[in-house]
């Protein structure tokens, strides 16, 4: 009887809203600090706190928002604004396609159109790292706290601009990159093909930064060329093992994403 009960409770253990909320905590904390930097920068450059907060609430991107804000402040055209967002955020399309391969049967239709709003580098990274299929309730839980972290961090940064000493800002700018490193390095350590492909992407990215003419290419375009180019070369030279049921392999283990923060 006991055996049977515990067996059944294990079977119904599916990733739901609560697990999603739980997995979103570290992302939310990270987002708070990163968007704090965004709100602060916005205030320094002449935006009101509610303007940067509105941008954060409707966009939920990092690089795209920074670029969009700069273009708006410089009085750029709407076409330029639209193109910049398209190019810088195009990586989300790739992540959306990747994630669409991992969702369960109920996560389709209108739910995809609503919850698709929450696809960001980190939310995607954590979702893609789950061994189980992604349910709509899990994904909704996962994006909830990061969304508020992002919005309120921006507000705090915008309001506290005059209080925070300039020197603190020096540490803020690097936080986002630290988070990216924490996603890539454990995977590169585990899979040397990922390491090689990432080093290739870095070499490309270095060329687009330092080589004359190439460094005229906008940041958004160069990220797509570098990221896509390196991934295609990776697929050609180190294709992953064929999958029988058409399911994507686990992109990363939850343990490696959460790491030491997981009790």
């Amino acid at each position: 009887m006991w055996r049977r009960l515990s067996y059944e409770s294990e079977r119904v253990m599916k990733l739901g809203f609560k697990q999603g909320l739980n997995h979103g905590v570290p992302i939310a904390i990270g987002y708070f600090f990163v968007s704090f930097a965004f709100g602060l920068t916005g205030s320094v450059e002449g935006m009101d706190w509610w303007q940067t907060m509105l941008i954060s609430m409707t966009n939920l991107t990092s690089a795209g928002q920074f670029a969009g804000m700069k273009i708006m402040l410089a009085g750029g055209s709407l076409v330029e604004l639209a193109l910049s967002q398209l190019v810088i955020n195009l990586r989300y399309s790739l992540m959306a396609i990747s994630l669409s391969q991992k969702t369960d049967a109920k996560f389709r239709g209108i739910y995809r159109w609503i919850l698709g709003f929450g696809i960001t580098d980190e939310i995607y990274g954590v979702a893609a790292g789950q061994k189980e299929e992604i349910s709509r309730s899990y994904f909704f839980g996962l994006m909830t706290l990061p969304y508020f972290g992002w919005a309120f961090g921006t507000m705090a940064g915008g309001l506290l601009m005059r209080v925070v000493p300039n020197v603190v800002l020096q540490g803020m700018g690097i936080a986002l990159y630290g988070m990216f490193i924490a996603i890539v390095v454990p995977k590169a350590k585990e899979d040397h093909h990922v390491l090689k492909v990432c080093l290739l992407a870095i070499v490309f990215s270095g060329m687009f930064t330092y080589v004359p003419i190439l460094n005229k290419v906008s940041v958004g375009v160069s990220i797509i060329i570098c990221g896509l180019g390196a991934a295609i070369l990776g697929a050609v030279f180190f294709p992953i093992a064929p999958i029988d049921d058409g399911e994507l392999p686990t992109v990363e283990d939850r343990e490696t994403v959460m790491g030491g923060d997981q009790a």
């Binding site: 990432c198 990221g227 896509l228």
Partner: protein, 109 residues
């Protein structure tokens, strides 16, 4: 900045960003079985994040030395398997500390 211009810009930004995410997510209903595409999708999050991080991280603060210090701390902690927040926070603290040290050296020597 003019409020109307801001709101119009905000609308354009958010609609484009939303469509970039939701259109592929909403329309992609079939499972991809092609090995090549699966491989590309497997590598892409890491290559994109790598390209976004390097070499941009070096100029993420006003001092190259402080940035390098933060980067090394992040790489070391990430290699040891620490979580997202701890890595990001430690990198920020290391950068800040290095910046303070450099400023002191500059001021007093």
């Amino acid at each position: 900045m003019n409020i109307n211009a801001f709101l119009l810009g905000l609308l354009v930004m958010s609609v484009v960003t939303y469509l970039v995410r939701a259109v592929p997510f909403g329309l992609m209903q079939k499972k991809i079985t092609n090995r090549f595409f699966c491989s590309v999708l497997y590598y892409i999050p890491y290559t994109v994040l790598s390209a976004m991080t390097f070499p941009a991280i070096l100029t993420s603060t006003s001092s190259l030395h402080a940035s390098v210090c933060g980067m090394l701390v992040a790489l070391l902690l990430a290699y040891k398997g620490k979580g997202l927040v701890r890595v990001a926070f430690s990198a920020a603290l290391a950068t800040l500390a290095m910046h303070v040290i450099l400023t002191c050296i500059h001021e007093f020597l």
